[in-house]
């Protein structure tokens, strides 16, 4: 078990390292630098800027210098927001993104499991067909359609919820729902399939034969096994929510870290982009690791750390 965790940890670091390197060299190989958009600069002035923002020397020198600064927890300066470091920018915006992501994560897992479980128990009824059709619909509509539609209905027409921005906890509700929508559907489909499979097994028949109430059979006995595929989906779910939040933050004007992605690519703000990529990847890899460690612990039949 410990060896398994250590090995996973090592491969986690490797993934992070690769992603950082790829992002760095892709960004540096793209035409145009961070100082090209300004008025024509004197060569000396440009060089001074490059030195100040660590853009001097060959790409390789920049890369090794960047890595050594990373080791000390310094993500570098931002060329767009000149008086602030990437660390400061992220410290300010990440909590907002995290709140949005966590809310969406809870909505997606809880909503999906309940909906899928309900559909499985109601097998063959119109309710099941309806629920599954709705799920497929939710998967087929991208978030940048549901977002504006929800704004149109709940914020502009009905006036129940704020249009965008970040004021009260209520203002997180629409964006979180938008972000979670397709994944509620995906998890519901996953839960339904595996629940149907489990409900047909012998130990469930035994539980029923013992005269247990149906809700106990489903929520205690069956759910314990049927939710395993859902748990293994939690890692990819986090990844998709992270990527999706870029769009949702743009639609709802939420001052989170996702907006930096597009801006920093367009502004050639190298260190800011790399900082965001590092944080997102680290989160993702850690979540995947947690799922992998929890999985065999939950399902004693699987020994993935052999």
């Amino acid at each position: 078990m410990v060896a398994f965790a250590l090995r996973r940890f090592a491969s986690m670091l490797l993934v992070l390292f690769c992603v950082v390197s790829i992002t760095f060299f892709l960004m540096r190989s793209a035409p145009g630098g961070p100082f090209d958009r300004e008025r024509e600069l004197l060569p000396q002035a440009k060089h001074a800027l490059e030195v100040k923002f660590h853009y001097d020397g060959t790409p390789w020198q920049q890369y090794t210098a960047y890595l050594s600064r990373l080791m000390h927890g310094d993500l570098g300066p931002s060329t767009r927001y000149r008086n602030r470091t990437v660390n400061e920018l992220l410290a300010q915006t990440l909590p907002v993104s995290a709140a949005l992501g966590a809310t969406a994560f809870c909505i997606a897992t809880l909503g999906g499991v309940l909906l899928g479980g309900w559909a499985a128990v109601r097998r063959g009824t119109a309710g099941e067909t309806g629920a599954m059709f709705l799920s497929l619909l939710a998967i087929s509509i991208p978030t940048f359609v549901t977002g504006p539609l929800l704004i149109l209905i709940f914020a502009l027409q009905l006036g129940w919820l704020p249009v965008g921005g970040l004021g009260s906890p209520m203002s997180l509700l629409l964006p979180a729902l938008t972000l979670a929508g397709p994944y509620v559907a995906y998890i519901a489909r996953l839960t339904r399939t595996s629940m149907l499979e489990v409900l047909g097994q012998d130990f469930i028949r035994t539980a029923r034969a013992k005269g247990l109430a149906e809700w106990r059979v489903v929520s205690l006995h069956a759910a314990k096994v049927a939710l395993l595929p859902v748990i293994s989906f939690l890692g990819p779910l986090a990844a998709n929510l992270l990527t999706g939040s870029i769009v949702v933050e743009t639609i709802f004007n939420i001052p989170g870290a996702g907006g930096f992605f597009v801006n920093s690519i367009q502004n050639r703000d190298g260190f800011l982009l790399e900082g965001v990529v590092i944080v997102y990847c680290a989160l993702l890899v850690v979540l995947n690791l947690l799922v992998d460690i929890a999985y065999p612990w939950l399902d004693r039949r699987i020994k993935s750390y052999e």
């Binding site: 491969s11 993934v15 998967i139 359609v145 149109l152 502009l156 990819p236 992270l242 769009v247 990847c281």
Partner: protein, 300 residues
């Protein structure tokens, strides 16, 4: 199992009735409209006119946009780009994924372990984000590269989107194919072929591949909507298809901006959204129905 693509599978699919049949009809209609629609509409439709933000009417069933262009025309030409990217990207993913899965599953042992480890690592990377960066980095280089081929330069964004989306969407296909090959290769017909002295290449292409057709078709159908969604994600962020060309994603980006407290031009969002969602819904329905019919592991 090798009868996966024979008429009886078709009959079983259509016998499922409702959803699957309507999905097929809808998809055929969308494809026909996308291919022939823009040609049949009067030449004026795609032109910029003074008729800004006109609400839907008989002259403009989908209304007009900021530049007075007919939205029906825009949606249909967007459909061309989105469908082309979706199909071509899915095909690339299909070739890579099938080949990779076949080799990994057939080789087995350490090779398989290493190859699947690599896939797992790629799963752990936020691929669309890396893709976003890569497209931006390579775009101008791609333009230079395509400059030698006349007529292709204006399509460089589309070409680069197809290539890169194909290059990231193959992972699921590889996993599925590899799982199938693992199950198949221990079966007696493979053993028989091997003991008859057939080469690995022949076993792979003549014996294993035909047995995979069903599963592969299912996931090909499901990859197309995934690629279309990815493309629209990139275009929505302004990093995919760029004006004057349009795809569903870039139209939706324009439409989303038209929804605001002051004045909502709902038709700019509603029509591209409805067209795209219906198409994706039909593709997903079809993929699901096909999976029930063709995938031996899907329990029913």
């Amino acid at each position: 199992m090798s009868d996966a693509a024979n008429p009886s599978a078709w009959q079983r699919l259509l016998a499922r009735g409702g959803a699957a049949r309507w999905s097929l009809v809808l998809l055929v209609l969308v494809v026909l409209a996308a291919v022939f629609g823009p040609m049949l509409m009067s030449g004026m439709a795609g032109e910029v006119s003074a008729d800004q933000f006109a609400a839907p009417s008989w002259a403009h069933p989908f209304g007009t946009d900021l530049h007075g262009q007919d939205m029906l025309f825009r949606v249909l030409s967007g459909a061309r780009v989105s469908l082309a990217v979706g199909i071509a990207g899915a095909l690339i993913a299909f070739f890579i994924g099938t080949a990779y899965g076949l080799v990994a599953g057939y080789a087995g042992g350490k090779t398989d372990g290493a190859m699947m480890r690599f896939v797992e690592i790629l799963y752990a990377v936020p691929r669309l984000i890396i893709l976003l960066i890569a497209i931006n980095a390579f775009d101008s280089r791609m333009k230079m590269w395509l400059a030698g081929i006349p007529g292709l330069v204006s399509y460089s964004r589309i070409v680069i989107l197809i290539l890169s989306l194909g290059l990231i969407e193959w992972l699921t296909m590889a996993r599925i194919v590899r799982g199938q090959v693992l199950a198949l290769k221990s079966q007696q017909f493979v053993l028989a072929a091997r003991s008859l002295g057939q080469t690995h290449w022949k076993i792979l292409t003549r014996h294993l591949l035909p047995n995979l057709v069903g599963v592969v078709i299912v996931y090909l159908t499901l990859t197309v909507p995934a690629v279309i969604l990815d493309e629209s994600f990139l275009s929505f962020l302004g990093l995919g298809i760029q004006a004057p060309q349009a795809s569903w994603g870039s139209l939706l980006a324009d439409g989303a901006q038209a929804i605001n407290p002051v004045k909502s031009y709902w038709w700019l969002l509603a029509f591209p959204a409805a067209t795209m969602s219906l198409t994706l819904l039909a593709l997903n329905f079809l993929g699901d129905a096909l999976r029930d019919v063709l995938d031996p592991r899907a329990e029913k």
